[in-house]
């Protein structure tokens, strides 16, 4: 009887999604087979698979891929380690936690643009506060965003600062699921801490951590704002991550057709990530 409300309930959202998102996405898929520029206008010229072939043959595309991958690997692995450590620390009992936690969580929801712009100031080789301490205590001066091998880690550091708390949050959630009586029993039996960790703690927090790593991987893969405001992909192409590259194709070179085929490739990657993510959601949660 009430099933008759199904359509009226679902349709507004679905129609909106379809017109506002699915349709344009299909348009992009279509455009990816054409040569077209929204700036130059004119009639799109059919190219077949040429856009895709030229992307896959372009060594610079693979280099951007590698840059993106290094960024993701660096950021997510360090976030995991730092978040893990913080999680264990904040799992202990001590006063003042209620005030400390929100302060640590705050970077997570700060606008990446604001954080990026401001870290440029903090990193500055001349006025920057980090270099002030570096010169004072170690007598070195690092050009964080200016040197080819430092720029990517320096940008990743901002991401790490922003997102380690997320790993910590997930880690805390996992730790709370660890049965306390097992730990106590193990302690009485004088089982070494790393054995306790491996056999009791790890199995309980693993599903949450897998999810956390996956979610962070997806988000780090999307990183655009910080790079855009901090380095613009430079120096050279040291921080030129894939989204940056797509953005340039679309809104600097206005090669809309080519940008569309890049977009379609990334679309597939995103869909793949989504499927993996859904598979990893812990069943009991």
């Amino acid at each position: 009887m009430q099933e008759r409300m199904k359509l009226p309930f679902l349709m507004p959202m679905l129609i909106f999604l379809f017109v506002w998102n699915i349709l344009p996405l299909l348009w992009v898929v279509g455009l990816s087979f054409y040569q077209f520029s929204v700036l130059q206008g004119g009639i799109p010229r059919f190219l077949g698979l040429w856009n895709y072939i030229s992307i896959l043959e372009d060594p610079y595309f693979w280099e951007r891929f590698r840059t993106t991958f290094s960024f993701v690997a660096l950021a997510v692995s360090l976030e995991l380690v730092i978040g893990f450590a913080l999680g264990f620390l904040f799992n202990q009992k001590f006063p003042g936690k209620r005030i400390m936690l929100p302060i640590i969580f705050a970077p997570m929801i700060i606008a990446p643009v604001a954080a990026g712009v401001f870290f440029r100031f903090i990193y500055d080789p001349h006025w920057g506060v980090i270099n002030y301490f570096l010169t004072k205590f170690f007598n070195i001066r690092l050009e964080f965003l200016e040197k080819a091998d430092l720029a990517l880690p320096a940008v990743a550091a901002v991401d790490i600062w922003m997102w380690s708390p997320f790993m910590m949050l997930m880690c805390l959630a996992g730790l709370q699921a660890v049965p306390q009586h097992l730990l106590e029993a193990a302690e009485i039996d004088r089982i070494p801490w790393f054995m306790r960790f491996r056999n009791i703690v790890l199995p309980h927090i693993r599903p949450v951590l897998v999810l956390a790593v996956l979610l962070r991987t997806i988000d780090a893969f999307k990183t655009f704002d910080i790079v855009f405001v901090m380095t613009g992909g430079g120096p050279g192409a040291a921080t030129e991550v894939l989204p940056m590259s797509i953005y340039r194709q679309a809104f600097l070179f206005f090669r809309t057709g080519q940008a569309s085929s890049l977009a379609v490739i990334v679309l597939f990657i995103a869909v793949a990530f989504t499927s993996i993510y859904l598979m990893m959601i812990p069943k009991e949660a």
Binding site: W20, I109, I122
Partner: protein, 278 residues
Amino acid sequence: MADTTRERGKVNVWGVLAAIITIAYSLPILWLVMTSFKSRIDIFAVPPKFIFRPTLTNYIYTINRGLFWGPLLNSVIMSVVSVLLAVALTIFAAYAISRFNVKGSQLIMFMVLSLRMMPAAVVVIPMFLLYRLLGLVNNYIGMILLYAMFSIPFSLWMLKGFIDEVPRQFDDAALADGASVLQVLRDVILPQLGPAIATVIIFNMIFVWNEFLFSYILTGVETRTIPVQIALGIYTDKGVDWEYVSALSTIYIVPIVIAVFALQKSLLRGMTFGTIRR
């Protein structure tokens, strides 16, 4: 007895360590806020000044430099209206998916989630094509609809999760009393969801508030939001305008920092798209 003192001693070590880390962690934000209260000479001082005479000039200057109230108001209106719109739309859909036997509900949830997983740099291309066609670039309604659309995935996942948690017996009892589905939704489900909806709204608002790329590409002067203004307003003819950037960023992140305190309990659930429900 001895055991508890040892425990207490431990407690303090952890606490002190945590306090130190917390302070260290907040330093970048602290430095930003401090900078916003410095004069230009102090901002560019070498070595950096840690103790200085605070001044409000940067704020007065920022407000008067132009394009302050406009973008601020835009940020507020867009985040509020678009999110309310999205929540209003998704609440029905979430209920339908949670309660009815919807064919393809798995597919809907999957599609919606992939939308969230795509980089903005990719999605902005179709949106630009669409808005160029409809003449919605630099248009209020356009921006609100856009952000509403991008608030749907999160809202749907969260709301469906929350509705799943409301026991079905409540619905059945009301239905047996002769209530219509709409009445059930309004009188039984919604009241249960109060705090949940608030969480969804705040989270979505933060996403919209922080969003940069869509606003950068699709807005004009009239519809510009604050993050874009931070990126575009960084230079003036005196060089990099750190006074402006620091003051504007500080104003901009204050609501966000307040939001973290408000969201403490639901942070985990929100950040994982409602897939972890503790």
